[in-house]
């Protein structure tokens, strides 16, 4: 430690401190990991090994399962588009009542109600409602973030 500053007169005190701290820290040996670390890692590896595939992340799923999920997602998307088309199409062009079985008659009534409302609402109201929904979602998100930072991160 005494040979660190051969040209001390030409160095500022700050540089001298930096060199000394650098020397001191680089002399530090590695710390010993706790004995529990290996056991913890092996335990987690074992847990992962016996975990069923559907609890793993998507990249670890079997190929067939991944394909099935993609196909199902596409089908759901297409179904969603179809439903939207039904809702927004004029009543006369969609003989929905003929397509539904008897126990789903309530859906027909719901469909009719939604169609009537959608077709008679002024566009301005629709845009206003969407804007209100967006504001409410933003407020909820902001409140959640504030609560997280205040109650959880601050701990």
């Amino acid at each position: 430690m005494t040979n660190l500053t051969p040209d001390r007169t030409t160095q500022t005190k700050e540089e001298q401190l930096e060199r000394w701290i650098d020397h001191l820290l680089r002399e530090q040996p590695e710390r010993l990991a706790p004995d529990t670390l290996q056991l913890r890692v092996l335990d987690r590896v074992h847990q992962r090994a016996v975990r069923p595939w559907w609890l793993c992340s998507y990249s670890h799923w079997p190929f067939a399962a991944r394909i099935a999920l993609v196909m199902t997602s596409i089908a759901c998307g297409l179904l969603g588009v179809r439903v939207m088309a039904w809702i927004t199409a004029p009543m006369a062009s969609t003989p929905l009542a003929q397509q539904l079985p008897g126990f789903l008659r309530w859906a027909e009534a719901l469909y009719e109600a939604i169609t009537v409302v959608v077709n008679h609402l002024p566009p301005l109201w629709m845009y206003g409602a969407l804007a209100v929904l967006a504001v409410l979602y933003g407020a909820l998100f902001g409140l959640g973030a504030a609560a997280y930072r205040t109650l959880y991160v601050a701990r």
Binding site: M1, P34, R40, V41, V153
Partner: protein, 174 residues
């Protein structure tokens, strides 16, 4: 794992200043290594890979769990006025009479007690060999702020070591 566990734990522990959290990070790093076991088993750069993963996991952890310490350091700028004149102890006076093991323990303790915004740049610069530019970019702080934090960290470390050196017999738990 046996070859690298001390390095991984040490990297995380020095960055975090907390052994329990460091053990969690080390565990995550080894689980990631396990996922790439086939690639890493024969790779001579496995140690470097593990070190980088550990560092990134620690950064992620700090980002998630520490309370905006970057903002905190910026807020502390108003207290800068009293710092430039701070008294820096003369290196030769420090720890001269303490044996090596005890000195190592004292330094680790002093390092862990530094606040995050001082310890992290210090560790990244002196242990992880990152440049000023890399550290400032990683921590998203200005270069000027980084230099101030580093200077304060070194000065605080030196002061703590001086104090510890004086009282080492009573405070150390070997």
């Amino acid at each position: 794992m046996r070859d690298h566990q001390h390095m991984v734990f040490t990297t995380a522990a020095r960055m975090l200043g907390n052994d329990r959290q460091a053990e969690d990070i080390a565990q995550e790093a080894f689980l990631k290594a396990y996922e790439h076991f086939d690639h890493l088993r024969t790779n001579p750069a496995a140690g470097g890979w593990l070190r980088t993963v550990t560092r990134n996991l620690t950064f992620n952890y700090l980002g998630r769990h520490r309370r905006r310490w970057r903002l905190f350091t910026e807020m502390r700028a108003e207290n800068d006025a009293d710092e430039p004149g701070m008294d820096i102890p003369a290196p030769d006076d420090l720890l001269a009479d303490i044996n090596t093991d005890m000195r190592h323990a004292l330094i680790e303790q002093a390092l862990a007690r530094l606040p995050d915004h001082q310890r992290l740049p210090l560790v990244l610069y002196h242990f992880e060999d990152m440049s000023y530019e890399e550290i400032a970019s990683q921590l998203r702080i200005s270069m000027a702020k980084l230099k101030v934090d580093l200077f304060r960290a070194r000065a605080a470390l030196a002061k703590t070591l001086l104090h510890k050196g004086v009282t080492a017999d009573t405070e150390l738990t070997p």
